[in-house]
């Protein structure tokens, strides 16, 4: 799919950057004129992906997190969140609802929410190398807008 616009952000995996990351994603997505509900879904999915990178990829250090947003043809928004942390042994297991390595502070619902709020979700991970989450959501044009 052809790229119409993009942004790339890089930040240290500090939890105080979670709110910034989802606000930045919402500000970029705004050019597609999404509904409040679509915007809420995008912010939530971004928050889950970025939180995973901050909490799970770097359990004992503050590592680098990169977020790229692209607008593709047919008003498709793509969000990629990449880390260079510990990676996931079994992506299949990690994506199961309620699975978590984070103890009782985590609900284990992050991937479930990403999957249900976005149209597509792909996770690539190599233990010891890092993880990339790529999500897409088509923003439907509303009646009366160009």
């Amino acid at each position: 799919m052809k790229e119409r616009n993009y942004i790339k952000l890089e930040f240290p995996g500090k939890s105080s950057n979670e709110a910034f990351a989802r606000a930045a994603a919402a500000a970029f997505a705004a050019q597609l004129d999404p509904t409040m509900e679509e915007l809420g879904d995008i912010k939530t999915a971004v928050s889950e992906a970025v939180t995973n990178a901050i909490v799970h990829a770097y359990p004992n250090e503050i590592g680098k997190v990169s977020m790229r947003l692209r607008i593709l043809e047919e008003d498709m928004l793509e969000v990629s969140v990449k880390d260079w942390g510990c990676g996931i042994e079994s992506v299949e297991q990690a994506m199961k609802p309620l699975y978590t390595t984070g103890g009782e502070e985590r609900s284990g619902m992050g991937f479930t929410i990403m999957g249900s709020f976005m149209d597509t979700l792909r996770v690539r991970s190599r233990p010891g190398k890092g993880t990339t989450v790529v999500m897409r959501r088509r923003i439907w044009r509303r009646k009366g807008t160009q």
């Binding site: 709110a19 879904d41 912010k43 901050i54 502070e105 985590r106 609900s107 619902m109 479930t112 929410i113």
Partner: protein, 109 residues
């Protein structure tokens, strides 16, 4: 994240406002836990009408508070979640563990 409370006749209502994500979750959870120990309520209501955003970190906060209430034989439920918060609650299946009352004031009888 702002937390305020109201207490009457064994019922503690905890009002959460702001954005509840992983950054805020740990402190929020600890604060709710302290409130439950201090008031020892029979019923606890988490009023989410002031929450502008919540992700799955908030689900863990609610589940933890609910467990704490169950341990002492009390009840906890959630009231007035906004649209975004309700979508996260629905997607996570939280309403199978904790009652969720939306769109009306007063809560469970």
């Amino acid at each position: 994240m702002n937390i305020s409370t109201a207490y009457a006749a064994g019922r503690l209502t905890i009002f959460l406002s702001g954005e509840l994500d992983q950054h805020e979750a740990q402190q929020t959870s600890a604060f709710i836990s302290e409130l439950l120990e201090e008031y020892m309520p029979r019923d606890c209501v988490l009023d989410l009408s002031g929450l502008a955003f919540m992700d799955s970190s908030g689900i863990a906060v609610i589940v933890r508070a609910s467990r704490q209430m169950k341990l002492v034989g009390g009840r906890l439920w959630v009231e007035n979640p906004g649209k975004q918060v309700l979508r996260v609650i629905d997607a996570s299946g939280l309403d199978r563990l904790v009652p969720v009352e939306s769109g009306r004031v007063g809560g469970l009888a």
